[in-house]
Amino acid sequence: MTDPVPAIELKNICKAYGALRVIDDVSLTIERGVFITLLGPSGCGKSTLLRSIVGLAEPDSGTILVDGKDITNAAAHNRPVKMVFQDYALFPHMTVAQNIGFGCEMQGMEKSAIARRSTELLELIRLPDIANRYPDALSGGQRQRVALARALAPDPAALLLDEPLGALDLKLRQDMQRELKAIQRRTGKTFVFVTHDQQEAMSMSDLVAVMNKGKIEQLDSPENIYANPATLFIADFVGATNLFEATVEAKDGDHLTLSVGDAHWRVPAARVTSHRKPDVGEAVSVVIRPEAFDIGASRRKGDIQLSGRLTDQTYLGDRVHLNVETADEKSLLVDARPPISIGEGAEIRLHCRADNLAIIAGR
């Protein structure tokens, strides 16, 4: 059951540095116990938004509520949220236990209670034996977990994580993604995670807010963000994409007829994923993901049929990336399951279900 008071509420947050609007009228409601990710490219305003919540950046306008209380003008140390920094920000001259207990000590907690809390959190992060080690004697993954434990120690209402996995190698990053999600489930805390890595966002989050140029373009589940991108930016930024420029030729009941080059595609109108629905004659973009294609001709009525020449293939173990060039010199990216017995330069036919694409108004 969802608590009626959200963990965090942002209302019309704006922040500019000179003429540059870093956060542009952002409103966002984050329910309790949710793992939400702010996803976007560098400079989109996601870190600034996070720093505004924790009190390290001051928004020009707007309201920030945590647990229903207005904390917009509260100092960082008076906010019930904690942050895990990109470089962990562990104090190098303190042991792991001292690092974890620092926030509790500053709150005036008794030493015995701090020690108990440190032990409890070290068990939570599954590193009970490193209490007396210094940060420089820890691996990247261990430091990351200790930083997490330190932020959790004063029992915050929500935890904000600013690209904390950026410094880890791929294997460790994947392990930590699972670990982070597990810790979030165990503690039941609200996690607000910031990343530019879409795979990271998809694998961990209950909700993803995709940001671009200071605005949240879409707030949805990872599955919907991927399958039903609301904007061309999201379609392009999240996952690999094949984009087709098209025009709406006709609307007929619950179907649209699109003119794509010389072809005419009849697609379900429900596949319009942008907020604005296009009118007849309007330009649209059709998004087809690489894995939506099947190799070969299709006999199923209504499928979209394409053909081209295989120019390049890259073996990736579990799949093969194919580059196919169509007759009108459009380059398509196709994901297929190995083995593929087609040589480079060979003609290849592709098809895709009409309900396996997304239509976005505009180009």
């Binding site: 960082a76 140390h77 904690k82 920094f85 470089d87 920000a89 104090f91 001259h93 500053m106 004063p154």
Partner: protein, 319 residues
Amino acid sequence: MSGFNNKKGKGGRLAGDGSSLSNFLTEGRGFLLIMLLPALLVLGFVIGLPMLKALILSFDTINFRRPAAAGTFGWHNYEKLVFDAQVWNAVWRSALYMGGTVIGSIVLALSAALLTRRIVRFRALARLTFLIPWTVPAVVTALVWGVMYEGNFGVINRLLDPLPFLDRTDWLIDRDTALPALILAQVWNEFPVAYIFFLAGLHSIPDELYEAARIDRASAFNQFRYITLPQLSSVTAVIVVLLMIMGFKSFPIIFILTGGGPAGATETMTVLTYNTAFRKLDFSYAATLGILAVLISLAMVLVYLRVMKRAERGAGGAV
């Protein structure tokens, strides 16, 4: 290069694969020695020879007031030194002077560094202001402070005049105030060295540590106590030893302002050595005092090297 010289063809030796002496001279340590030889010769000439001369002199009896005793070699100067209360008083005063300058310089330099760390406007000007004393020669510093300390019209007495509980005093003539007055002048002259170290140290502390501490409710004082001070500990250790050496070796300010007086109240090791040589004209005993000063300095240099080694090991890690 050495790899090339060691390669052997199938049928015989390559050029350069000669005798062991030529190998020694063209490879490894021998090559390094040849490269360093000019510098070693110059250093040996300007440092080694005078030191050797001083060592020999310390066993001799060169006293211009007793020329007849010249050529008497032995341990007599060292025996005299061990029981010479004036020497050990001078060592104690050197220690006091050193301690005073170290503490004063560190407090002043750290305060100045903390003050100018986050300045945005006029940053260069503010930093330059704190560096100016360093550019002033010690002799000029001594003369300026001498005028300031002057009993009748010195600016310090003028400034303190409004305070009812302080009488006018002749700072450099009073036995109780002479040494602290010299320490103050020395601190003014040398604190910029520590200031540069502290400023660099403060800039190397990541902002994220302070942000994390702020979020954890650490007050400004606690941030200083739990982050700034521990993070500066390696730098501070280096500065302390460096200032100790500078303080111990200090001469011009003391010599110009008091010459070791009043009644020996500011006679440090360096001033005592000078007075023994050029006022009492006892060069051999002065050389013995010089050897003692060198040994004390050497001990501090060894501590400095250890501290530096620890600082390098501890850089970025636990201190």
